[in-house]
């Protein structure tokens, strides 16, 4: 019942929801502009009420806080998921500490990345936002910048390549830029005498589309020249260093 879930905006704003109901409402909130507006307004109301209870903290707290922030690194700005920042804030405030939430995020880099690309494409996030976001995830700032510029293009598209034994690899490309980028986390790093090769399948024929390898930590952020828009599919094989003109091994990832 839509009406029923609407009533929860008030409870949410005063943090009176928990458990399944909280999760259900947050899921609804993510897609309901009406509830978002209501929660925002109710949150302002609650803050105004709080003004009526103002009470100066002990003076010692100020020095303690200022000492603590001197040693506390700051999170980077909101990324392409800025849409849900308010919700994230509530969720992160739920965690008992900074360290815990940071640790909990780490193993899910791939998922976040994939979601991030999708969000960026949907929102057509500005180059600034996307740049910051990519910079955060990338180990190589230059590539990150190039990829950010790519993702920010209106015509940017993303293709997910999947395989049996490898994590998914995303290929982002922009026809207008004539560039593509390979983005992955947790991919096996190949020895120096081997390379991953991307193939664009055109009319059933694989055409070489670029080489890439993973960092020691499995990160891939590689930009490639070439337009993939007329390809019917993409595939990846492992080839000798320098790449091949035709695939010489089985496809390990494909769209």
């Amino acid at each position: 019942m839509a009406d029923e879930i609407h009533l929860l905006a008030g409870l949410y704003a005063v943090d009176a929801l928990e458990g399944d109901e909280l999760a259900t409402f947050e899921a609804h909130l993510a897609t309901c502009a009406e509830c978002q507006a209501e929660v925002a307004q109710f949150t302002e109301v609650a803050a105004a009420l709080a003004d009526g209870s103002a009470m100066p903290p002990p003076a010692s707290a100020r020095a303690a806080v200022l000492a603590r922030i001197a040693d506390t690194p700051q999170d980077p700005p909101a990324h392409a998921g800025a849409e849900v920042t308010a919700l994230d804030d509530r969720r992160s405030a739920r965690d008992t500490g900074v360290e815990r939430s940071a640790a909990a995020r780490k193993p899910r880099r791939v998922g976040r990345w994939v979601a991030g690309i999708a969000a960026a494409l949907v929102l057509v996030a500005g180059a600034v936002g996307a740049g910051v976001w990519l910079d955060r995830l990338s180990t190589r700032a230059d590539d990150a910048e190039a990829i950010a510029a790519l993702v920010a293009r209106d015509d940017a598209q993303t293709i997910k390549l999947q395989g049996e034994d490898q994590p998914a690899v995303n290929v982002v490309y922009s026809p207008s830029q004539g560039k593509a980028a390979v983005v992955a986390d947790g991919l096996d790093r190949l020895p120096d005498d081997k390379t991953y090769e991307l193939w664009a399948i055109r009319d059933g024929v694989p055409v070489k589309a670029g080489l890439f390898n993973a960092d020691a930590d499995g990160t891939v952020r590689t930009t490639l020249d070439g337009n993939l828009s007329d390809a019917s599919a993409l595939a990846v094989t492992v080839e000798p260093a320098g790449g091949s003109d035709q695939p010489t091994s089985d496809i390990i990832l494909s769209s």
Partner: protein, 195 residues
């Protein structure tokens, strides 16, 4: 007048400060702390009650504000509302453990028998500037007693709506409606005086 009187920043000034905090400006952070810490501490103190624990939570909140300043989105609401939300959530986390919850339900249920609304009015009186206090008091007075009771049990008592229903012995749906209607009415009356 009183040396307790605070000069409050307006929302644009806070927005400017949070932008500088996001850039790692600790001077701006100190200014924001000076402006907002009484409001933040007031929320925490009323929910958590214990002074030492409240100070710990205040520190957690302020460090979180520092850490996540760059993620603040002015399009989503004011700096004050954002900081208040973080503070309220942290305060609730502190008190919403099993035993603490049971104790608070007992306490609030017991208090209800003597006084319908359990606000620490002496704290409010001692600290808040007169104008603010009157404005908020006037807004609260537009609520029906049962709306105000449900709202304050949830916001200041830190109770879930199920707990509020149990304390007041009313159906869940009634709690939802009362809290929502209460907030709507407050929004209306505060909206007239807030920019």
């Amino acid at each position: 007048m009183s040396d307790r009187a605070r000069v409050r920043l307006d929302s644009d000034a806070r927005l400017g400060l949070i932008g500088r905090v996001a850039q790692g400006d600790s001077t701006a952070f100190a200014a924001l702390y000076d402006d907002m810490s009484p409001t933040i501490f007031g929320i925490i103190r009323r929910v958590v009650r214990d002074e030492a624990q409240s100070e710990e939570v205040l520190q957690e909140v302020m460090v979180e504000v520092w850490r996540t300043a760059a993620r603040f989105d002015g399009a989503k609401g004011s700096v004050a509302a954002w900081m208040s939300t973080v503070a309220h959530r942290r305060a609730i986390d502190r008190v919403r453990s099993e035993q603490a919850t049971r104790d608070r339900i007992d306490r609030d249920a017991a208090q209800r028998e003597t006084t319908v609304v359990s606000v620490d009015d002496h704290i409010v009186d001692a600290i808040t500037e007169e104008a603010d206090r009157e404005r908020i008091q006037a807004a609260l007075n537009t609520l029906t007693p049962v709306q105000r009771e449900s709202l304050e049990l949830a916001y200041w008592g830190g109770h879930t709506h199920a707990q509020v229903a149990a304390i007041l012995d009313i159906p869940l749906g009634t709690v939802k409606t009362r809290i929502r209607d209460g907030l709507l009415r407050l929004r209306e009356s505060l909206g007239a005086t807030r920019g």
